[in-house]
Structure formats: structure tokens, C-alpha cells
């Protein structure tokens, strides 16, 4: 009856469990030591794992952590759905990490979880995609929405000669960033680019295959299409891949936000003339520097606070706790080989 004795042990374990559960929890981990970042623990929580863009930002975070003597752990869900980050935020709160650097999948759905983490003493810095301002200490913005929208319109307008039909291939229909940019682009198109018509906004869900299929559908349903703007790195690469092997190559312009490594072959083969982005490695680096400044108590996230961000120099906190990385950057044949991310 060996199995029975295992069961007896199990029953004993249940009883023991009842006792330890009442014993309450240990009080491990950080109540952020002031003025000191040595040994700080930082959790990096991108929208999802396996995304080269966030791999680059995590590399920047690790670079900053090394300079600061802190440690960075990257965790994250496999899909970028609204509630999928909550368990990871909860885990960070349980571990009592010094700071959480997160790119939010949803501006509100993770709010309660962030509140709880902050009340446990964890500093919260959002980067790339923000939450509602009350849920975080700082937002490190890659570029202003206005700047990004302007840059993409400037690029597409140059590439199609200032007139004709264009379409947008976005990420998911709920994506905070993309929706904000698209709204501004629609406004500016109406006021500043009267000869350019936006005929459709399609959603590729930041999935390579879906984006690829949506590109094909756009080109089929709009025979006069002259350009596609894809304000997401997954979308622009999929769109360029489709166009590069189709009859539309050289006839339909593809631009938007992309990464040099993903876009290199399409810039080389002439499918794509130029595209924009910021440097995600710098973004992760700056977000981590900002988190460290919060942990050290150098800043509190108030407007006007200034902090030293290592190799990037000094930054000032703007309205609503925002720190702006800088202007969007345009990549083309002349400079793309200087970058590797």
C-alpha cells in the first residue's frame, strides 16, 4: 500500500499548509533605498516576447542597468492582449522589485495591478505605450504623436508625388499608439494634404501573416492605390515583403515605422525608399535610467524634474510626467547600414 502512505503524507501536507498559510507572508524585497541604485531590481515588461523591437529596448535596459549596478529581468506574455500583462505585474509586486518598466497593452485594464504594485513600493515607468497618467510615475515617450504623424505623412507624400490614394496598415484595432497617430494623420491629411486620399485603414494585429494577407487585400480592393503607410514594425515588414515579390513593386510606395534589420533587404531592392523610427535601444536605455532616478529618489516624476541619463545626457520631465526621447529618425539607403537592431 505504498500509494496509501503517499496519500497520508499528502493529507499531512494539507494540514501543514493550513498552518503556514495562516502564518502570513514574508516581507522580502525593496522599499527603494534613497540615493542608491546599486543592487536595484528592475522588471522589464514589454507588450509581448519574441518581438525584435522589444528585444532591442531590453538590450538598452540591460546596458543602462550594467552602468547603474542594477539588475534587469525581462518577462512578458506571448500575446499582446489587454489583460495578459496583469499576472506579470502581480508577480513583480509579489517579488517586491524596485521598479517596473512596462510598455502597456491597454491604457486602463492594467491600472489596478499597477496601483497595487506601486502601493507595494515599486516605481512604475511606462515606455513606448502609455497607461492613463495616474497609474504610473513616468512615461518615456519615444517621440511625440504629432512628430510621428507628421514624419509619416511627409515620407508618403514625398514618395507618391504629393497626390493619390493611400491606405494605412495598422496593428490591432485597440492599439493605443497607432490609433493616436492615425487620428492625427487623418486630421493633417484633411488640412495639409488635400490631394492625398486615405481610402482604408486595415488592421494586421501585429501578426506577420495577418498583415501580409491584409496588404494583399488592400492592393486588390484599391487598384489605384499609390502608397501604404504602416505605423507598426510588424506591418511595414509584412507589407514590404508582399510588395517586393508582386507586380506592385516600384509602383506602390511602402513606408511607416520599421526597424533597420527587418527593412534592410527591401530598402536594398528598392521596394522601400525611406521609413522612420526612433532608436528602441535608446528608448529602453532612457526608460531604465529614468526608473533608476526614481528608485534613487533623485526625481519624483514632477514636471520640471531633471535627471542625468548616462550617455544620452540630461532630460527634463514634461507635463503629465512625460519624458520625450527626441525626434523620429528617418532611415534610407544612405544610412541604414549604420544601424543594427
Amino acid at each position: 500500500m505504498r500509494f496509501t502512505s503517499v496519500l497520508a503524507a499528502g493529507t499531512a501536507a494539507v494540514l501543514a499548509l493550513g498552518l503556514t498559510a495562516c502564518g502570513g507572508g514574508g516581507d522580502e524585497g525593496g522599499d527603494g533605498a534613497s540615493g542608491e541604485t546599486e543592487g536595484a531590481t528592475i522588471t522589464m515588461l514589454p507588450k509581448n516576447l519574441g518581438n525584435p523591437y522589444f528585444e532591442a529596448s531590453t538590450a538598452g535596459a540591460e546596458e543602462a542597468a550594467e552602468e547603474l549596478g542594477a539588475t534587469v529581468d525581462e518577462v512578458g506574455p506571448d500575446t499582446a492582449s489587454p489583460d495578459s500583462q496583469v499576472p506579470f505585474i502581480n508577480t513583480a509586486a509579489q517579488q517586491g522589485v524596485s521598479a517596473l518598466v512596462i510598455s502597456a497593452n491597454d491604457p486602463t485594464a492594467i491600472g489596478d495591478a499597477l496601483d497595487e504594485a506601486r502601493s507595494a513600493g515599486t516605481k512604475v515607468v511606462t515606455f513606448d505605450s502609455d497607461t492613463e497618467p495616474q497609474y504610473r510615475d513616468l512615461f518615456v515617450n519615444q517621440a511625440s504623436a504629432e512628430g510621428i504623424a507628421d514624419k509619416q505623412l511627409e515620407l508618403i507624400s514625398d514618395q507618391i508625388g504629393g497626390e493619390g490614394e493611400i491606405a494605412i496598415l495598422s496593428a490591432s484595432a485597440n492599439a493605443t499608439n497607432q490609433n493616436a497617430w492615425i487620428a492625427i494623420m487623418e486630421e493633417k491629411l484633411a488640412s495639409d494634404y488635400p490631394d492625398i486620399e486615405l481610402v482604408e485603414t486595415a488592421y494586421g494585429d501585429d501578426d506577420d501573416q495577418t498583415s501580409f494577407d491584409k496588404t494583399a487585400a488592400l492592393l486588390q480592393s484599391h487598384p489605384d492605390l499609390k502608397g501604404i503607410v504602416s505605423p507598426t514594425t510588424v506591418g511595414i515588414a509584412a507589407a514590404a515583403r508582399y510588395v517586393s515579390t508582386s507586380e506592385y513593386k516600384g509602383k506602390v510606395a511602402v513606408t511607416g515605422l520599421g526597424t533597420p534589420n527587418q527593412m534592410r533587404e527591401y530598402v536594398d531592392d528598392g521596394t522601400v525608399e525611406a521609413f522612420a523610427l526612433w532608436n528602441p535601444t535608446d528608448l529602453g536605455y532612457l526608460a531604465t535610467q529614468a526608473a533608476a532616478a526614481l528608485v534613487a529618489g533623485d526625481i519624483t516624476g514632477e514636471e520640471g524634474d531633471t535627471f542625468e541619463a548616462g550617455r544620452l545626457g540630461e532630460y527634463t520631465v514634461g507635463a503629465d510626467g512625460e519624458v520625450l526621447l527626441g525626434e523620429p529618425f528617418v532611415f534610407d539607403k544612405s544610412n541604414i547600414d549604420d544601424f543594427d537592431f
Binding site: G10, A13, L17, L49, D73, P82, P87
Partner: protein, 331 residues
């Protein structure tokens, strides 16, 4: 009449359900000892909040799978109920109106499934794959790309706050009540006996006077209503009513039910096993996340546990059947 080779208490312990409970306890004990941060009060709070919707939906799902049927539309009902709840709130109705209205809509969704399965004689797998798409489509169509988020704080706090100073969220009370209701329904009423009889043999159940069609309809209506209730909870917990809420949750529910020892072929299953199955998935995910294990590995671990839990009883069953004639107990 077969005489039992073991005393009653051994039979009670040596069940498929006890095995899941045992593994759950073992997982908890090991995690508490080994995983840093697991031993804290937040673990219980987060565990309950995270598993609550899956646990709720798993209760009626247990009964449905015990009849040999399945309801794959549950997560879409969660989404549709979330959107309905949000839209009624936006339209100025009080939440005390929006809540029962959303649950009622869920019951109607369940009734549509149930009618097609029970009275239309269609396979539930096909019917509910269809309604999975239909209800999700309605949910996303109704609210589009927007979300309703301005729920009163008294309600959203209620979905996440704890009972006094304890680590147990208030929703624990509701969960315990519903678990008790479904346990009684399945294990201590004629209705529950009928459910298991249908699972063993729908034909035989009908000949012995069980109203198979009505029983199935009731189960699908229950499933729809409870899924809708989970949808309201989900909405309040994340403070966000969206059409894509809980996408894919049906698979977590079915996984937990099977892990809890319910036979996918029908005829056997118990609520306590399913509760343990749901908690086991929650504990494993929580502990592995604290260990910094990536989400893909977590999925592999849970997927393996599920496959083993489905395959193991078949293998054990096969061995037993082969051994029986030798012992002289051939059926």
C-alpha cells in the same frame, strides 16, 4: 453486485479527483518552499482573482462535459456580456440593471446553443464553434474598437478588494457559494444523476425516463448565464468593457475541467476535482512566473500536464481491463 476489494475510505481517496488534489497540494508545498515570493499573502489574492472567471465557467462546463457534450462559445459569451454591461452603463442604466440584463442575455445565448443541440439534434462541438464566432462577432461589432472604462469605483474596487485584512478577495464568497451549488446539483440531486447517466449512455438514459433534451437545454442555459456573470466580473476586475475580452478562455476552461478528472467522453466527473484542476493551473502559472520562467515554457508545462491527465486514465484503464479476466471479474 460486485463486492469491493477495498474499504470505503480507500475508495474515496484513490480517485482521479484525489490525484489532482494531491498534485495541487504538492505543487503548493513545493512552490512555498522553493519559489521566492510565493509564500506571501499576495499569492492567494492574485490566484483567486486570476482564476475566478475560469473557475466560474468551469462549473457548468463540468456538467456539460459530463454529459459528453461541450460548450466552446463560453469565452465569446464573456465578451458579449462585457460589452452589453458596458453599453448599458454608458446608456445611463444603473449597474444593478446592467448586471441582470447581461446575465439574462448570456442565458439567451446558452438557450440558442442548447436548443440547437438538444432539439435540433446537432453536435455541440459544431454548434458552439459556430456560436463562438457569432457571439464574438456581435461583441466586437457592438463596441467596435472602443472600450467602456468609466465604471464607478465602488464596483471596480468590489471586484478586487479583500475581505478585511485577509488575503482572500471578496469574490471568494461568491465562488464558494457557486461551487457549493454546482456540487450539490451534480452530486446530490436527481438532475445530477441524470447528467451522469446521459454521459454514460444517452440512449439508456432516455429509455429509463430521463428527459435528455430538457436536461441538455438547462445545462447550456446555465453555462451561458454563468459565463455572462464571469463576463461582468472580468469587466469590473479590469475596469474595461471590450469586445475582445477573454478571447481564447474557452480552452483554459476545458483544459482545467479535463485536468480535474472529468471524462471528455462523458459519464464521470466531480466538482471538487475540477476546482482542484483550475487551482492547479493557477498555482503552476503563478509559481513558474515568479521563477522567471517564460510564458512559452509555462504553456508547455500546462499542456503536458493536460495531455498526461487525459492519456494516463486511458492507459491505466487499458491495463485494468486486461488484468480483470485473470482475477475472474470479467464484466
Amino acid at each position: 453486485m460486485r463486492t469491493h476489494a477495498r474499504p470505503w475510505w480507500q475508495r474515496a481517496l484513490l480517485t482521479r479527483e484525489m490525484l489532482t488534489i494531491l498534485i495541487l497540494v504538492a505543487a503548493w508545498v513545493v512552490a512555498s518552499a522553493v519559489v521566492q515570493g510565493f509564500d506571501g499573502p499576495l499569492t492567494i489574492t492574485y490566484l483567486v482573482l486570476d482564476v475566478a472567471p475560469v473557475l466560474l465557467i468551469a462549473l457548468p462546463m463540468t456538467l456539460i462535459i459530463a454529459t459528453g457534450e461541450i460548450d466552446l462559445s463560453v469565452a465569446s459569451v464573456v465578451g458579449l456580456s462585457s460589452v452589453t454591461f458596458g453599453l448599458l452603463h454608458q446608456a445611463g442604466f444603473g449597474l444593478w440593471v446592467a448586471l441582470p440584463a447581461s446575465v439574462l442575455l448570456g442565458a439567451v445565448c446558452g438557450a440558442v446553443n442548447g436548443t440547437l443541440v438538444a432539439y435540433g439534434g446537432l453536435p455541440s462541438l459544431a454548434v458552439t464553434i459556430g456560436s463562438l464566432a457569432l457571439y464574438r462577432g456581435l461583441a466586437v461589432g457592438l463596441l467596435g474598437t472602443t472600450a467602456v472604462t468609466d465604471f464607478p469605483e465602488s464596483w471596480t474596487d468590489g471586484a478586487t478588494e479583500n475581505l478585511g485584512e485577509s488575503p482572500w478577495p471578496v469574490v471568494t464568497l461568491g465562488l464558494v457559494v457557486l461551487i457549493a451549488v454546482f456540487a450539490v446539483l451534480l452530486h446530490a440531486t436527481p438532475f445530477g444523476r441524470n447528467v451522469l447517466d446521459i454521459g454514460r449512455s444517452s440512449e439508456a438514459a432516455r429509455f429509463s425516463g430521463v428527459d435528455v433534451k430538457r436536461t441538455l437545454l438547462v445545462l447550456f442555459v446555465l453555462s451561458g448565464a454563468v459565463s455572462a456573470l464571469a463576463g461582468v466580473y472580468y469587466t469590473l476586475r479590469y475596469g474595461s468593457a471590450r469586445g475582445d475580452n477573454a478571447t481564447g478562455m474557452e480552452l483554459q476552461v476545458v483544459a482545467a475541467v479535463l485536468l480535474g478528472g472529468v471524462s471528455i467522453f462523458g459519464g464521470r466527473g466531480a466538482i471538487h476535482g475540477v476546482v482542484a484542476g483550475v487551482l492547479l493551473i493557477g498555482v503552476l502559472s503563478s509559481a513558474l512566473r515568479l521563477e522567471g520562467v517564460t510564458v512559452n515554457v509555462i504553456n508547455i508545462v500546462i499542456g503536458t500536464a493536460l495531455v498526461v491527465s487525459v492519456v494516463a486514465p486511458r492507459i491505466a484503464g487499458g491495463l485494468r481491463v486486461r488484468r480483470r479476466p485473470a482475477v475472474g471479474q470479467g464484466s
